[in-house]
Symmetry: C2
Subunit: 204 residues, 2 copies
Amino acid sequence: MGNQLRLGAGQPLFHEGDPAMSVFTLTSGAIKLYKLLPDGRRQVTGFMQPGDFLGISVDDEHAFTAEALEHSQLCSFPRSRFDNFVEENVEVERELYRLAAHELAAAQQQMVLLGRKTATERLASFFLALAERAERAIDGEIRFIRLPMSRSDIADYLGLTKETVSRVLALLKRQRLIRLDAIDRIEILDRASLEQVAAGDLDA
Amino acid sequence: MGNQLRLGAGQPLFHEGDPAMSVFTLTSGAIKLYKLLPDGRRQVTGFMQPGDFLGISVDDEHAFTAEALEHSQLCSFPRSRFDNFVEENVEVERELYRLAAHELAAAQQQMVLLGRKTATERLASFFLALAERAERAIDGEIRFIRLPMSRSDIADYLGLTKETVSRVLALLKRQRLIRLDAIDRIEILDRASLEQVAAGDLDA
DNA sequence: CGGCGTCTTGACATAAATCAACCAATGTGG
DNA sequence: CCACATTGGTTGATTTATGTCAAGACGCCG
C-alpha cells in the first residue's frame, strides 16, 4: 500500500506549518509531536507509538512538528489518495471522527494536568497514562514502562523543566512508588499509591 | 426540529460523566465547559458562543460539565435521532470530523498556553482569541469584547487564580493595551502590542 | 439603604524555575 | 586501550512568578 519510510533518532518527519501532503502510520519506534513559541519555548503535545495514525489536520497544514525519538519506521500515504480512499469508504470517515473525538478528550485531560496539577501529580498521571496505553494494547497488567523520550521531552510535555522532572522522579523513587530500572525504563512498584498521587489524594 | 431549551445563569446543562443522550446547539447566551479534580480544582476547557455545536463525545458519556454563564437558549436533539441523521447524510459526517479536528487544534494551542506561557501572555492570548472569534463571525475588525464569564472562570480557563487575573488586567490597563469599558467588557486599545505580548516578544 | 457576592489590592508564602556544579554514560582519537 | 570531550541527567543553592491569605471597594438586588 503506502510507502515505507525510515527515520533516525532526532530526525523530523515534518514541521509545524508545513503543507500536510501525506498521512502516516507509525509501524515501529516512537515520535514526539510539539509546538514552538517564537522564543524557543516548547510544548510537546503528544507521543506516538506503533499503531498510531498521524494525519488529522485542518486547512491541510501541519499544526505541530513531528520528530523521531529513536529509529522509527512509518507507512506514508499521499493525502490525495487517502482522501479518495475515505471518500469511497464511508465507514472510514466515521472511524476518523471517532479518532479525532478520542484525541480531543485526551487533549482536554491534558489541559487539566497542565492547568491545575502539581509537578508530582503530573509525573504520576503521565506514568499511569503510559501504563494504561500499553495495557490497552496487550490487554493485561503491566509493571514496566519504557521511556523513549528524554527528561527534557517529558518536561516539555508536562509543562515543567527537566530539573523538576528529575527531582520528582527521585522523590517517587524514595517513596518506593516506582523504580528506575534503567534510565529509560521505570517499574511501577505501588500502583494504588501512584493513582492516589495522580488524583491529588496523596502528597508523596 | 429539535426541542427548545432555556437555562438561567449558573444552571448546568449536564455534568461530566453523565450519559450523553442529546446533542445541542447554542442559540443565545454563553456556556462554560469544565472538568473537576476530586478535591475541587477546576479546569475550564472552553466557552461556547451562539452558533456553537455541543455533541462530540466518546463512549456516549460527557467528558465535561456544561454550565450556563447567563440566560441561554439551546436547541437539543436526541442522540439517536442525530445519529440517524448523520447516517443518512454522509457529508455531515465529514463536517463533524472537521469540527472535531478544529477543536483538537484549538486544544493543542491551549496546551501551549497552559504549559509554557506567562500569566500576562495568557491573558493577552485569551483576549486576542476572543476578538478573532468575534471577527470571524462578523467579518471585520473589532475593538470591544464582551466577557460573560467571571474572573474565576477566566482564571480556571487560563490555569491561574482570580487574583492573578485581576492583577494582570490592571497591568494591561496601566500599559494602555486595553481599557475596562465595564466589568464585563474590554476595549482593545493597542492590538499590535497586545499581539506582541501574547507572542512573548513584549514584556508589558 | 443595606447586605452579599465579586472584584481588586496588598502582604506574605511557596512551588517550581533558574543558575551552577557535578556525575555517568558514550563515543573519539591518539 | 585509555585519556578526554560530549551529552544528558542529577543535585544543590537561590530567585521569582504566581499562589495564598486577608482586607477593603465596588456594584447590584431586594
